[in-house]
Amino acid sequence: MIPAAFDYVRASSVDDAIRLLGEHGDDAKLLAGGHSLIPMMKLRLAAPATLIDITGIPQLDAIRVEGNRVTIGALTKHAALAASDALKKSAPALWDAANQLGDPQVRNRGTIGGASAHGDPSADYPAVLLALDATFTLIGKGGERKLPAGEFFRGMFDTALGAGEVLTAISFDAAPKSAYVKYHHPASHYAVVGSAVALTLNDGSIGAARVAITGVGDAAFRAGRVESALAGVRAGDDDAVAAACAGAASGQDARSDTFASGAYRAAMADVFTARAVAQAAGR
């Protein structure tokens, strides 16, 4: 499959990318790993007039852990996240997602920034970044702005990233008791259902919980009802955890496709959320 013709330019810095976005207008797209954008272009679901390759921009490909704060450069590849011991210790939910995403070749090429900016409703990272309450750093002509994950992910293939903006980094507080588990689509490797959980524990009981689910609705969402129900539950009490996770997808218009009905996705959201809680609590 051959994509529609486009012009190709390389940006040497974030400022250069912003300048090029301004110059080429709304028909330009940033190209990072390309593992969401290029398949769409080959199917002609996307036909940007210009691709601005940002992979050569230095310093955006880094994992930094400073005290309790973790910052991931937007061009960090899935494989680098999957191989990071620092990430495994500080935010194992993200490490889980990076290890389960796609396949080795996809992980060698795709980036966390590109995958996030794509806004795929079945992608793994949105659930994790919601559960980690991550902050997205966006830089445009007017300067820098920071958005919480809850405002960044807006809907199906829709994020708050402006046409003239570059996503440069994603940061969050360390969450050592966190986990992401997914119902792995056997062909696409996307999440049929994926559940991310970040917990605090007091003497074996759950203190605060953040829970987010992907694959079910038009975009990943926080399961607020489950978060409240988990507070005070003993993490080792499987029945109590399962009861708290019931109805994890309530209020969502669960998607149906040839692989899974909406009702099945909603039922699996409960199951995978309970598994994620158990895994997070055991860390």
């Binding site: 499959m1 013709a5 190709y8 290029i38 070749q105 060698n108």
Partner: protein, 191 residues
């Protein structure tokens, strides 16, 4: 636009549209047809090559993105006269039937062994998750990778295809006439 790559250690320069995929540049422009196009949707891994030493699906990389970078294809991993130990292992452990996926499998296996020279069967399966085979059921592919890994750890000598295939019919032998092929019952029916 001008694209300058290093392919299997040699410089390759081409003037192509930015939309030219790396796999098409390799096959149709540079003439290295060992890299295959299977699904063309970044699922099957038949087009796997090494880009700056790591495995990628060349159907999901534009050639222009690889400009200034190094590409290694199956032709750069081994040749008919000097088979890479992983190629020989796929041969000796029957890791292929039709062979379509094989070059991608071997490139992925080589990439896996760079990170983990002594993988378990489970790690081999995980390492080849991005490569699909429709013939073998994967059992012999896993065996091949295990054998290839062992050979690489033990620095096995390189062999050529000719060493491994000694039972060639002599070139001067007459082709079979076909006379013996018709079974008596059929011969009777024909007369």
């Amino acid at each position: 636009m001008q694209i300058d790559l290093t392919v299997n250690g040699k410089r390759a320069s081409l003037d192509a549209e930015p939309r030219l995929l790396l796999v098409h540049a390799l096959r149709d422009v540079i003439g290295l047809t060992g890299t295959h196009v299977g699904c063309d949707t970044s699922s099957c891994g038949a087009c796997t090559v090494l880009l700056d030493g790591v495995s990628v699906k060349s159907c999901t990389v534009f050639a222009v993105q690889a400009s200034g970078h190094e590409v290694t294809t199956i032709e750069g991993i081994g040749t008919a006269d000097e088979l890479h130990p992983m190629q020989e292992a796929f041969w000796s452990a029957h890791g292929l039937q039709c062979g379509y996926c094989t070059t991608g499998m071997i490139v992925s296996a080589v990439d896996l062994l760079k990170r983990n020279p002594d993988p378990t069967d489970e790690q081999i399966r995980a390492g080849l998750e991005g490569n699909l085979c429709r013939c073998t059921g994967y059992e012999n592919i896993v065996k091949s990778v295990r054998a290839g890994a062992k050979a690489m750890r033990e620095h096995a000598p390189l062999h050529s295809v000719r060493d491994l295939m000694p039972i060639h019919p002599p070139a001067e032998a007459p082709p079979p006439s076909g006379e013996g092929i018709i079974i008596p019952a059929l011969e009777k029916a024909l007369t």
